[in-house]
């Protein structure tokens, strides 16, 4: 018998007490649903997002579309070699940026920072989510460089985790980022900055 058949057989034997007529839906699940954002509380949700992202030691800069270029320039200060996804919108892309056209891992390790957009933000948890679609680059691009500058539009911010899951497409690779990389492995003393980008700057536009 194959391992597959044997394991499935053991599972069925183990579950002899479950009535044959029972379906998964018969096991009732009552869960809190997504908290939709209304016109009235949209500003509060964005404010909470900014607070919570900053809580985890990321730098949050709120700005209007008009003054974005100025803030972008200062976020990228001290990044001599900047990587951008090849499909990053032109108006965000600094002139001397390096386009990620499938750089090797070793080449990625020689850039100093990366600039991307995001799929959405979650206010409750201070999380930005990348689905690695247009403007967000492949997964390695936002991982190997030491600084990640991420542009999030205020209308991309949802209130809670349930709303985020409802909007995301699981067929895409997803990276949820809540602050810069961190560890609490030594005496549970939190240290920001281990393997991922040690600096995370979120430019929150609008």
């Amino acid at each position: 018998m194959s391992a597959r058949e044997e394991i499935l057989g053991r599972v069925r034997t183990a579950l002899r007490d479950v009535p044959a007529v029972e379906t998964p839906a018969d096991v009732a699940v009552d869960r809190p649903g997504p908290r939709p954002t209304t016109r009235d509380d949209a500003a509060d949700v964005v404010e909470l997002f900014a607070e919570r992202v900053a809580d985890y030691k990321a730098t949050v800069v709120r700005c209007t579309p008009e003054d974005l270029p100025t803030h972008l320039a200062s976020a990228l200060d001290g990044v001599p070699r900047l990587l951008v996804p090849a499909d990053l919108p032109e108006d965000l892309r600094p002139a001397d940026a390096i386009l990620d056209e499938q750089l090797t891992t070793a080449e990625l390790d020689t850039v100093d920072g990366v600039l991307t957009t995001a799929a959405l933000g979650i206010a409750d948890t201070g999380t930005i989510v990348l689905d690695h679609g247009p403007g967000q680059g492949r997964r390695a691009a936002t991982l190997v460089p030491d600084r990640h500058v991420c542009v999030v539009r205020a209308d991309q911010v949802v209130a809670d985790v349930a709303s985020a899951v409802a909007r995301l497409d699981p067929a895409r690779p997803l990276t949820w980022i809540s602050g810069p990389s961190a560890t609490s492995d030594i005496e549970l003393d939190r240290v920001e900055g281990v393997h991922g980008p040690r600096t995370l700057i979120v430019l929150l536009v609008g």
């Binding site: 479950v18 409750d124 492995d185």
Partner: protein, 500 residues
Amino acid sequence: MSATFLGTPAFPTAARTALADTQLRRNLAHATGTIRAKRAAVVGEVDEWERLRLAGAALKDRTLRHLDTYLAQLEESLTRAGATVHWARDAAEANRIVVDVARRHGTDEVVKVKSMATQEIGLNEALEAAGIHAWETDLAELIVQLGDDLPSHILVPAIHRNRSEVREIFLREMGRYGKAAPRDLTDTPAELAAAARAHLREKFLRAKVAVSGANFAVAETGTLAVVESEGNGRMCLTLPEVLVSVVGIEKLVPTWADLDVFLQLLPRSSTGERMNPYTSMWTGVTPGDGPQEVHVVLLDNGRTDVLADEVGRQALRCIRCSACLNVCPVYERTGGHSYGSVYPGPIGAILTPMLRGVGHDTQLDSLPYASSLCGACFEVCPVRIDIPEVLVHLRTKVVDAHRGEPKVQNLAMKAASWAFADARRTAAAERISGAVGKVLRGTKRRAPGGRGVLGALPGPAAAWSDARDVPVPAQESFRAWWARTDGGRTEQQNGNGGAK
């Protein structure tokens, strides 16, 4: 680097050693106290926490009660997404599958994301035996591996080490396996983390094959999720060409939408954060992004035995948050090593004996007793595993498994059963007991309330009296007193100690 839990003595003996280690107790008290406070603060922020816990428990029950259906569905979703699915009945089979994948790619090293399942099956040792180095990349796992040590906590396996111990290990060992630690390394956690970053980066950039576990596997979509903090997970899940994930069959959740409940429960219960720094989710192979060859090993290794136990089944809801360790008064004092298992603490005390079976190993049989049954573990468990209920259930199983063995307790019970089965025998036993009481009535030791107590009993009974006072037997039995005084009606009112 091949420390093992094999040969750990039974819990009471191991605990005694741990309790005598004052450094260990200081490290543990500090760490568990810190994380308890963090968890309480972020759980307090969630208005509907109890409803979330109920939903988490119900979703896991739904999965477990229909696990065959969901396993088949997961296999189909994964295959459709370009992953290769393997099934492993036990540790040896799982290890063989991973070793074969590594060999096929001609590599002599793999990078690893922290994973309880791969520790449970001893994958690192199996890889080493096949000539393949397994580099642990989680900071705490690295500390444990470099120190030739054993993990002592599910979330922070090096919780028993303090910063100066970590510094010494890094200075002494890093150079033997790759980039050495800087000679002027201090013991500040930031510097120690930077040393780990430098040491591991060359391994991340070089590795062809990575091995991970998974926190969740979505049956509906074939999506796997890994939650982590440091970015070592992202490195392993993204940079190598080949990824092998060893996933226990209890890790399934039915649908994509169900993940939201667990992504809220896990980080707050585990690290005491609203959300952990990084969560990676992937569904098979994504062209041009990440590993282009993806394997998933579905692991049984005793889980179907746990599933077959209708009381113990709930332990398979566990999402490995470790909140129960941090609140446990026994864990806080004895640490993880005393449990002799990769799963320590309250959850380990039920999961380990069920995965490996009770009745055949003294160490395993001692684990259900490693608890005061205070219930704190049940209160914090994000998926409401009633650990005390399962502990008591397992104690019954342990006792049942040893019924009829010639132990002092069994002999005493047999004798009592014989004596109490017949009124004349009982009366004779009472007379003997009364005579003993008369002889010993002058004993000096007194229990609270004034009754005389004996010191240590002789012979094998000493084990019982070690921690208990043995009362001096009454000089007269209740039945004898009743017969003599006509139920107290004829007793002298000035009698000594009689009924009123």
